[in-house]
């Protein structure tokens, strides 16, 4: 029970990190980006690539399995992931945004997701990779509860990021413009703000968060080209549960989805675990489409 709670919170915090980026792009850019999952994968693999190229292994810090190189690699990965997001937006999404049916953009993100995943497969191969071959042994906190230091780090970092992002959105002009853009793009322009800049920054922030989520996720699991894709449904469920565009909501949504997945295994066979986010999603759509906390914009048309 206790273990399921701890696992749920860990998985939930990673889902939350990914869902923040998704909910921002979904709320502000107004489309469900199926390729967001691949930004996560891309970030995770870019960090792996940086580690492989630099090859410096400066030894792990304290009780964690990783050291300075991975932290630096994560920063590089965040930049590279933001670059990918901007390139994709420039080449694919932006030209299609003017299309009469806005679902064309959503659909194109489906195609982009496939392409990115396969490019990763081509570059890195399909077999599982790890940041470190060393196995970290979980620490027993109390009977029935073991946690890994890495997991505590993940949870802590998620908290820090959420708080930082909250202040960014509440206190800065750019954050204010983002929230405004989610509600009414024309009115933002009327206020003298170049929405293209805001869109670019939304991509950069969303992608950088995706990269961080990818590295944290990759640290707790194995890296494979599908890791992001398998998170996609939990991410959407978390974002919609929390209210699209609502950062705080995405975090709570992520935790709920993570806990539900974790506890579900106590009642149903583990094989059905991946269906749990879908059930949550359906329930939200039937009962409260605007999410628990309401979004920047509601689900209704």
């Amino acid at each position: 029970m206790l273990q399921a709670l701890a696992d749920g919170i860990l998985t939930g915090s990673i889902i939350a990190l990914g869902a923040i980026g998704l909910t921002l792009t979904m709320g502000i850019l107004r489309f469900a980006n199926f390729a967001h999952a691949e930004l996560i994968t891309w970030g995770a693999y870019m960090a792996l690539g940086v580690l492989a190229i630099t090859g410096v292994f400066a030894g792990p810090i304290g009780p964690f399995s990783f050291g300075l190189p991975l932290i630096l690699a994560t920063l590089v990965a965040a930049v590279l992931t933001a670059a990918l997001a901007l390139v994709v937006d420039y080449l694919v999404f932006r030209p299609l945004r003017s299309h009469t049916n806005h679902m064309t953009v959503v659909f194109s993100s489906f195609g982009v997701s496939l392409l990115v995943r396969m490019v990763i497969l081509l570059i890195f191969g399909g077999s599982a990779e790890y940041y470190s071959d060393e196995l970290q042994i979980a620490v027993r906190l109390m009977p029935g509860l073991r946690v890994m230091p890495d997991h505590l780090f993940t949870l802590g970092l998620t908290l820090v990021i959420v708080i930082a992002l909250h202040f960014f959105l509440q206190r800065t002009r750019l954050g204010l413009s983002m929230r405004a853009l989610a509600e009414n793009p024309d009115l933002v322009r009327i206020n003298g703000i170049d929405t293209r800049t805001v869109v670019r920054w939304t991509w950069i922030i969303g992608a950088a968060l995706a990269a961080v989520a990818g590295v944290l996720y990759g640290m707790t699991v194995q890296l494979r080209p599908e890791i992001g894709f398998q998170l996609l449904l939990p991410l959407f469920a978390a974002a919609i549960l929390g209210g699209v565009g609502n950062v705080f909501g995405a975090v709570v949504g992520g935790l709920i989805v993570g806990l539900a997945e974790s506890f579900s295994v106590l009642f149903i066979p583990a094989g059905y675990k991946m269906a749990v986010p879908f059930i949550i999603l359906l329930a939200v759509l039937y009962v409260r489409p605007s999410g628990l906390f309401g979004g920047m914009r509601g689900g209704a048309k």
Partner: protein
């Protein structure tokens, strides 16, 4: 019968089966603008429904009712319809994105059920020995395949003409009107959400029909038949062929499936063995590029939207 012809018959059976799926998707996307990200799920429901209803009775299985093939196919279609209703009703009044996400979810969930509910679906082992309709009547596999090609082609033709008729009916014009200008259509007293739901459900039913035909031909069904990649392939067929046009859907199904099989063939021939492991990724990238480039540079696909439909509207 020469090898090429035999392969061609086989190829066309598969391609035309997919063309029915593509026409179903065309009704959803091409004519109604609904993004179904879980095509493979509805295809799978039809296939499993048919397999469970027509398969042989086995001790360890719930199913195996040994019903006649047409009954099985219709049963599979009904199940696909119900699944479409579940996600359709949930998202009926919401933005279309929610339908996309829900369909994506239902496809994953259906695969999980196929994989884990082994007393119904045979689990990972799949369901074997599903009778192929009228198989005993034909002496050689070649003759049987020709017969089956005839069957699939006939069904595809019926679907094609049926859809054409529906699209030229008042209902079809309403669909088009809703896609062009939802508010205007709504102001005419039509409920756009309900019409969209109808198109979505009907399209999913056709996918279920194709699933039944697929099982009848292969005689076996397993979760591996319904990997997410199939959804991409079906989409590529529609986009490349030209969405909003049923002839385009059929041409796209045959063309893209030919491209897919031939690229596989070419890769196995041309790539040295040590690079073969990358071959599958290259094939998928070709499909992905095909989708994105067509959207960007030739949004109407090979064969654009049929003019006949819009003529009635305007």
């Amino acid at each position: 019968m020469s090898g090429y012809i035999a392969y061609l018959v086989f190829f066309l059976i598969v391609a035309l089966t997919y063309s029915i799926v593509v026409m179903g998707l065309n009704l959803q996307w091409g004519f109604t603008g609904l993004f179904n990200a879980g095509v493979v799920g509805f295809f799978a429901i039809g296939a499993y429904g048919t397999a469970v209803l027509t398969g042989p009775d086995r001790a360890e299985l719930i199913g195996g009712f040994g019903l006649p093939f047409p009954v099985g196919v219709i049963g599979g279609m009904i199940l696909s319809t119900l699944a479409a209703l579940v996600v359709g009703l949930a998202t009926l009044r919401l933005r279309e994105e929610y339908l996309a996400i829900s369909t994506f979810g239902i496809a994953i969930s259906i695969q999980l059920v196929a994989l884990n509910f082994d007393t119904l679906t045979g689990g990972a082992q799949g369901l074997t020995g599903i009778p192929r309709p009228l198989f005993a009547t034909f002496g050689s596999p070649g003759a049987y395949n020709l017969f089956y090609l005839g069957l699939v082609a006939t069904v595809a033709a019926v679907v094609y003409f049926g859809l054409q008729a529906a699209l030229h009916s008042p209902w079809g014009r309403l669909l088009k009107a809703i896609r062009e200008d939802e508010t205007a259509a709504a102001s005419l007293g039509k409920n756009p959400a309900m019409v969209r739901l109808q198109a979505f459900v009907l399209g999913s039913t056709l996918m279920g029909l194709a699933g039944g035909l697929y099982v009848g031909f292969i005689g076996y069904v397993s979760p591996m038949d319904f990997l997410p990649i199939l959804t991409f392939q079906i989409w590529a067929m529609l986009i490349v062929g030209g969405s909003g046009n049923n002839r385009g859907a059929i041409v796209g199904a045959v063309g893209v499936w030919a491209l897919w099989t031939m690229s596989g063939f070419a890769i196995s021939r041309l790539l040295p063995v040590e690079y073969q492991s990358q071959g599958g990724a290259i094939q998928v990238i070709i499909i992905g590029l095909l989708i994105v480039l067509t959207l960007l540079f030739r949004p109407r696909g090979l064969i654009g939207e049929a003019q006949s439909v819009s003529r009635h509207v305007s």
